[in-house]
């Protein structure tokens, strides 16, 4: 396998001026989406999907991917300056990020988070470069039985990782599965719950649901919490600090932290259903337990900021592996990325990299460049994002509503989907209020039909026998890994969550 040749070819695709422009635009938008609290990458991606319609597929995919991993950079700025995570994946970054800022070290914290994000992201892309072709090779032995098991693995991991509230997570997932049954049944061709409506033949598209749940739902919740009343008074001023750049000590003390959590984050990202939020919480608690200065965690320890920041970026790279080589999204945001591929008539899967080498390697090469651009943006454009944080939420809120509506309507120019989006927004608010999991709902809506179809295909092939799942060696492996994950992840998770809660209480 000539990885370097492929990568160089990808670079030549990615580096055209127009593609670089879209890449920068994507990185910028990703940062902005990350900065706005309650407005995550999944909603941001979904809304910007229609904007890419007139573009080249490669430019579009590069730009959307940049939004996806760029949000991980942006989300931390508010975590540090405002103690409000811009993203669920940057919650762990508030634990030490905000105390650092309070100590008058906001500048170094911002720079270090950018560097940590860059290291995590870049190590992640290097691992993608090496591992994706291997994964694609392995996944060529995957047929319907394996796809069914993988979808189940994704849902199980997601529910298990929710932790204490797993029952609410399970209910959310079941609602998603139920919505996923609408549309023409693939096997018999009969309409299910379509009420003869042509709009519902294709089923309930998950993009309006995702925009509703993550865009409007989160927005309503932010208003409910009174975010529109709190001005930006709480924002920490960093301009007058004596030192903007990190000290040598900051660099030296965190180099191993970055190395460790690049790998850990990546591995967690590859697991369907886990993802960046879990990776960052896990990284924080692991780092604290192995650190010599564990008593300083939560009081402004640089390693406590660097660990989750490295991990969440590495995880968002890791999640690209199942997306590209299996076509299975592990999270709501990768599900939207998958939708983007599909809109372009590209179907990620075992054959994707082989059949679309320019696109696949162009995307991978663009991620190296994107991470570099994001490193520069997130250090030198900080004043710009601080201005954005200062925009009052009462102005930002209505803007988000308009963008969500326009974004949904422009995908299919469908009123039904726009109504669905508003309904999902209201439901999303109540889900947040009562602790349900919108992410589980969206992922189930995507994985549910996939699992159902794969199961029925499997049983048609095996003529009704479930033995097919143990007769194929690939299936057996997946079952073994799923069992291992379901047993071990909750242990790690409990460890991560309790550490997080302790810090919250203490800080």
């Amino acid at each position: 396998m000539d990885i370097f040749g492929d990568l160089l070819m990808g670079l030549s695709v990615a580096i055209t001026p127009i593609n670089m422009l879209y890449l920068l635009a994507g990185a910028m938008v990703g940062m902005i989406v990350g900065v706005i609290p309650g407005f995550g990458p999944s909603a941001g991606l979904a809304i910007l999907l229609p904007v890419t319609f007139g573009m080249d597929p490669i430019s579009a995919i590069m730009m959307l991917a940049a939004i996806y991993y760029g949000a991980m950079y942006g989300g931390t700025i508010t975590s540090i300056l405002l103690n409000t995570p811009g993203e669920s994946a940057t919650v762990a970054s508030t634990f030490d990020g905000f105390p650092l800022a309070k100590k008058g070290r906001a500048g170094p914290a911002l720079v270090m988070q950018a560097v940590a994000s860059f290291v995590g992201g870049t190590v992640g892309v290097i691992l993608i470069t090496i591992l994706a072709p291997m994964f694609a090779q392995v996944s060529r032995s995957f047929g319907p039985p394996e796809y069914f098991l993988l979808a189940i693995m994704g849902m199980l991991t997601l529910v298990v990782m929710i932790g204490k509230e797993w029952k609410l997570g399970l209910i959310s997932a079941l609602i998603g599965f139920a919505l996923g049954t609408v549309g023409v049944d693939l096997e018999t061709g009969q309409g299910r719950y379509t009420f003869g409506s042509a709009e519902l033949i294709g089923g309930i598209y998950f993009i309006p649901i995702a925009i509703g749940l993550f865009g409007l739902g989160e927005l309503f919740f932010a208003f409910y919490q009174g975010l529109h009343k709190t001005g930006s008074g709480g924002i920490i001023q960093y301009e007058n600090e004596e030192r903007f750049w990190p000290t040598a000590q900051d660099w030296i003390s965190t180099r191993m932290t970055m190395a460790r959590h690049s790998v850990l984050g990546f591995v967690v990202g590859v697991i369907p259903g886990a993802g960046a939020t879990i990776a960052s919480l896990m990284a924080y608690s692991t780092e604290r337990s192995i650190s010599k200065n564990s008593e300083n965690f939560g009081k402004g320890e640089m390693a406590g900021l660097v660990a989750p920041e490295t991990a969440n970026n590495a995880a968002s790279s890791g999640a690209m592996i199942p997306l590209l080589t299996l076509g299975i999204p592990g999270s709501a945001s990768t599900a939207v990325l998958l939708a983007a591929f599909l809109l372009w008539g590209l179907r990620p899967g075992p054959l994707f990299m082989e059949q679309n080498p320019e696109l696949a390697w162009g995307l991978i090469a663009s991620m190296y460049l994107g991470n570099m651009a994001l490193l520069a943006i997130s250090i030198f454009a900080i004043p710009l994002f601080v201005q954005l944080i200062k925009v009052p939420y009462r102005v930002l809120g209505p803007t988000v509503v308009v963008i969500c509506t326009l974004g949904t309507f422009s995908v299919h120019a469908s009123f039904v989907e726009t109504y669905l989006m508003f309904a999902a927004g209201i439901i999303g608010f109540f889900m947040r209020l009562y602790g349900f999991s919108p992410a589980a709902l969206v992922l189930a809506l995507v994985l549910g039909p996939l699992a159902e179809e794969a199961l029925r295909q499997t049983l048609t092939i095996s003529r009704g026998s479930f033995m097919i799942f143990v007769e194929r060696s690939a299936s057996l492996w997946i079952i073994a890994i799923t069992i291992a994950l379901v047993v071990f992840l909750p242990l790690l998770n409990r460890f991560g969550k309790s550490a997080g809660q302790a810090e919250k209480a203490g800080g």
């Binding site: 319609f53 007139g54 597929p57 996944s139 060529r140 032995s141 995957f142 047929g143 319907p144 039985p145 394996e146 796809y147 023409v184 049944d185 693939l186 096997e187 018999t188 061709g189 009969q190 309409g191 379509t194 003869g196 409506s197 042509a198 709009e199 519902l200 033949i201 294709g202 076509g327 809109l343 372009w344 008539g345 179907r347 899967g349 075992p350 054959l351 994707f352 059949q355 299919h412 120019a413 469908s414 179809e453 295909q457 499997t458 048609t460 092939i461 003529r463 194929r472 690939a474």
Partner: protein, 338 residues
């Protein structure tokens, strides 16, 4: 000329009564057409009228590519005097876009391209229109399928495949159910006398993956999408459903050559709104005769591995009716529709 137009307007409004949105759209089109009528009555098409080209699917799909190819050819060769406005009106597997065209009954400036869903969507949903309601211009090409097995399979020829399937039922994968992918192997199996289990997938690449992982015995698919894998020897083509084997599949027999002619394929054609004036239909037939002669069209056919099958006017209507009836019969017999 003018009374005739008025006439058409009335029929439009009557046939659509109750369907408020459709009527509103129809009226919006009928009124300017009526005002403009005296000036342009002599000639079709008028350079002052914008051609309203409906693409019933989103950008990038097969229907979109075909429509934009034709428009490009019309513009390159200056075949259409006025402006052409192409709009993607996606939704409901084509029901929205073709419903929009249906509501413009009698308007000579509403046009659209067809694909497989043009026949299958009305069978699945309560669309107010049927394929034969529209004014047919031409069938330009058909999408045909090739039956393939895994390159490592012991089955080398279609005769061996049929013999093996008669001994032990095979499973054959395809995309969708209310679809030519299901109809073609069903009719082929009936004619050749074997049984099989149909496994439906959402996309070509999913079913290809399933075949390569040895979960499936065989599958049908559009040759264009799997040509690379056929050339690399990972998939082995056995038989082709169209009338002539495309150059890329040289040596592969057609079903008709084996004596199992099935006579169905997906129509890629051009239609006008229902009851469009005869001179509009005629003008478009003449124009399309020029379009299919261009090298650009040849390139489109080749790069999408379509079978060039050209039928004009009322023959196209008959073709659509036959295809629909054939589909309906097979789908009803297996209980996919009621």
């Amino acid at each position: 000329m003018q009374p005739k137009r008025e006439d058409k307007m009335t029929t439009t409004n009557e046939s659509q009564s109750g369907w408020v949105r459709a009527t509103a759209i129809a009226a919006a089109f009928a009124v300017p057409a009526a005002f403009a009528a005296p000036a342009i009555a002599q000639e079709y098409p008028s350079a002052d009228e914008t051609l309203d080209w409906t693409i019933a699917f989103g950008p990038g799909g097969g229907n979109d590519i075909m429509a934009r190819t034709i428009i490009e050819i019309l513009n390159t060769y200056d075949l259409y005097p006025g402006d052409i406005s192409a709009e993607n009106r996606a939704g409901g597997s084509g029901a929205v876009g073709w419903g929009y065209l249906y509501a413009q009954s009698g308007n000579p400036y509403g046009i659209s391209t067809t694909s497989g869903s043009f026949v299958t969507t009305p069978l699945q949903a309560d669309t107010p229109w049927q394929p034969e309601d529209f004014t047919p211009v031409a069938l330009l090409a058909t999408d045909d399928l090739v039956l393939v097995v895994n390159g490592s399979s012991e089955i080398e020829t279609v005769e061996e495949f049929i013999a093996a399937a008669q001994e032990r039922p095979m499973n054959i994968g395809g995309t969708g159910t209310v679809n030519v992918d299901f109809i073609v192997p069903t009719l082929f199996a009936q004619r050749a006398g074997f049984e099989f289990d149909y496994v439906s997938f959402n996309s070509m690449s999913e079913q290809t993956t399933a075949l390569l992982s040895d979960a499936l015995d065989a599958m049908v698919g559009n040759p264009g999408e799997i040509l690379g894998l056929i050339e690399s020897g990972e998939l082995r083509p056995l038989v082709f459903s169209g009338q002539n084997t495309p150059a890329a599949l040289e040596g592969v027999p057609t079903m008709a050559e084996l004596g199992y002619d099935i006579g169905v394929s997906m129509p890629r054609g051009l239609i006008l709104a229902p009851d469009a004036p005869a001179e509009a239909q005629e003008w478009w037939i003449n124009t399309m005769q020029q379009v299919v002669e261009t090298p650009e069209w040849d390139e489109y056919i080749a790069s999408n591995t379509l079978t060039p099958t050209v039928i004009y006017g009322e023959d196209f209507r008959t073709f659509l009716e036959n295809t629909k009836n054939g589909f309906e019969e097979v789908l009803r017999s297996v209980g996919a529709i009621d």
